[in-house]
């Protein structure tokens, strides 16, 4: 049976560490399908009221994100993952939703058995104010394995 792994990345160095780790560990498991997921948050309409400008910013971000994700996919392939086993997914959200909720929705709907996140190492104060995707994924994930790469 195909083993599905979701790597949630934000294109930070830590996310790329997570990609490298998964590549090293899973390259010997050729029946694994890896999806790289990135969530782009559309700027708030309170900050960027013009819809055209918001769209332009999102498209700029999407192009940059896809470029970085292709680099990340290249790292997996270089580590031995078959090219056809690596997929890219970019999700744009226009509402202030939790990235964790989107990741876990993807895990459920995509039938993934493992979700991988990097950890930025935020302080307690930052976690209070801004939250932490990795902490929330660990706390709220069900019926899947969570790998946190620090």
């Amino acid at each position: 049976m195909e083993n599905r792994v979701l790597i949630a990345i934000d294109l930070s160095e830590n996310s790329l560490k997570a990609v490298d780790y998964v590549g090293r560990v899973l390259s010997c498991h050729q029946d694994t399908r890896i999806t790289l997921l990135n969530v782009i948050k559309e700027p708030s309409s309170d900050l960027v009221p013009d819809a055209g400008e918001r769209h332009r910013q999102v498209e700029e971000l999407r192009a940059e994100t896809l470029k970085r994700m292709e680099e990340a996919a290249g790292r997996l392939i270089a580590l031995g993952m078959p090219e056809q086993s690596v997929r890219l997914k970019v999700q744009v959200c226009s509402m202030p939703v939790s990235v964790t909720d989107l990741i876990l929705k993807e895990v459920r709907e995509g039938g993934y058995s493992t979700v991988v996140v990097g950890r930025r190492g935020v302080s307690k104060r930052e976690e209070f104010l801004f939250g932490s995707v990795s902490s929330k994924v660990v706390r709220e994930a069900h019926q899947c394995t969570v790998w946190v790469v620090v």
């Binding site: 202030p96 307690k124 104010l129 939250g131």
Partner: protein, 322 residues
């Protein structure tokens, strides 16, 4: 209305009408040049400007807010606060952290609409001036700021806790519930401070003001508001904030008390601020103190939603002195 009619209205609502030619302004883009005695005109409504609001914070006089005018509604003589469009971005200090904050007139206008007729929030309406600026016309609340009310109570903490606090706590719970309702509408207050609650003189009701701060999204959408609610809770339970320097100033008794404190007793955001108030005031209930400790340096679990905070605080009600 022509100028003579406007002038007649002014005469009926003020003892000191402006002399000379009236300056009637309908494009407020250049708000710095709008002065006292000018008249603002929006959609046939006329407002006599009396001056600017001042950023008065914690008993200090601050800078005039040139985009916020004090005015008289010339249709009925009521006092209004007129907020004009001013965009700015700045770093807001949250304890030892800074975040990028933006002033958003459209956010405040939207909240005014959503909370219309809900007296837990400031009331008013939105109009566009001739240049399309989103102007907010807000009813002035006659009353005192929550900060001043608590700060000016001339009683010791124990008397406060047993005689005044239960009623204050009820009111603060109502104010927190209002923020929770705002969150359920998908909105943030954005600048929750103990001087952004006004207590109306006529009704003693607590009213939230000023909703124009906003931020970029983060994973914890309500984090900044919860930070503010935590500060207000601590201020309310303690009848003000209590710090290590305060204890140092209390002589040997204060020094002895300080020696009983550990890092866990201090605020997550303000390193000298004491959150474990039970150590200072042993009669504070365990349940209430536990809620305060969620804002401490060694808290393992933080509130992520106002529902959670409210649920804990409602559980404290049974332990209040009655």
């Amino acid at each position: 209305m022509n100028e003579a009619e406007v002038r007649e209205r002014i005469g009926s609502f003020t003892r000191f009408p402006p002399r000379g030619k009236l300056n009637i302004v309908s494009d407020t883009t250049e708000f710095m040049s709008i002065k006292a005695d000018d008249v603002l005109e929006f959609n046939g409504g006329y407002y006599l400007v009396r001056g600017e609001e001042v950023e008065g914070r914690f008993g200090l006089d601050g800078e005039p807010k040139y985009w916020v005018k004090r005015a008289i509604d010339l249709s009925d003589g009521t006092s209004k606060i007129i907020k004009l469009v001013f965009h700015e971005s700045f770093l807001m200090q949250l304890g030892s952290l800074q975040i990028q904050c933006f002033r958003s007139p459209i956010k405040e206008a939207r909240i005014l609409d959503k909370t219309h007729d809900d007296m837990r929030f400031m009331q008013g309406f939105n109009v566009k001036d001739t240049a399309g600026n989103a102007v907010r016309i807000i009813d002035r609340i006659q009353g005192s700021r929550y900060y001043d009310y608590i700060h000016n109570l001339d009683i010791d903490h124990e008397t406060y806790y047993y005689q005044v606090f239960p009623k204050v706590f009820d009111s603060i719970l109502g104010a927190f519930q209002a923020i929770n309702d705002l969150h359920h509408m998908g909105e943030l207050h954005g600048d929750i401070r103990n001087d952004h609650i006004l207590i109306a003189r006529s009704t003693s009701k607590y009213t939230w003001i000023d909703f124009d701060y906003t931020y970029d999204w983060s994973e914890n959408f309500f984090g900044v508001d919860l930070y503010g609610l935590g500060n207000i809770l601590l201020f309310t339970v303690g009848k003000g904030f209590h710090t290590i320097p305060d204890l140092n100033a209390c002589g040997p008794e204060g020094i002895k008390m300080k020696q009983c404190l550990t890092q866990a007793d201090l605020s997550l955001f303000f390193k000298h601020r004491i959150v474990n108030l039970q150590k200072l005031f042993p009669y504070i209930s365990d349940s209430l103190n536990l809620a305060l400790m969620h804002f401490g340096q060694e808290a393992d679990v933080f509130y992520e939603h106002t529902d959670e905070l409210l649920s804990d605080l409602r559980a404290c009600e049974a332990d209040l002195p009655r």
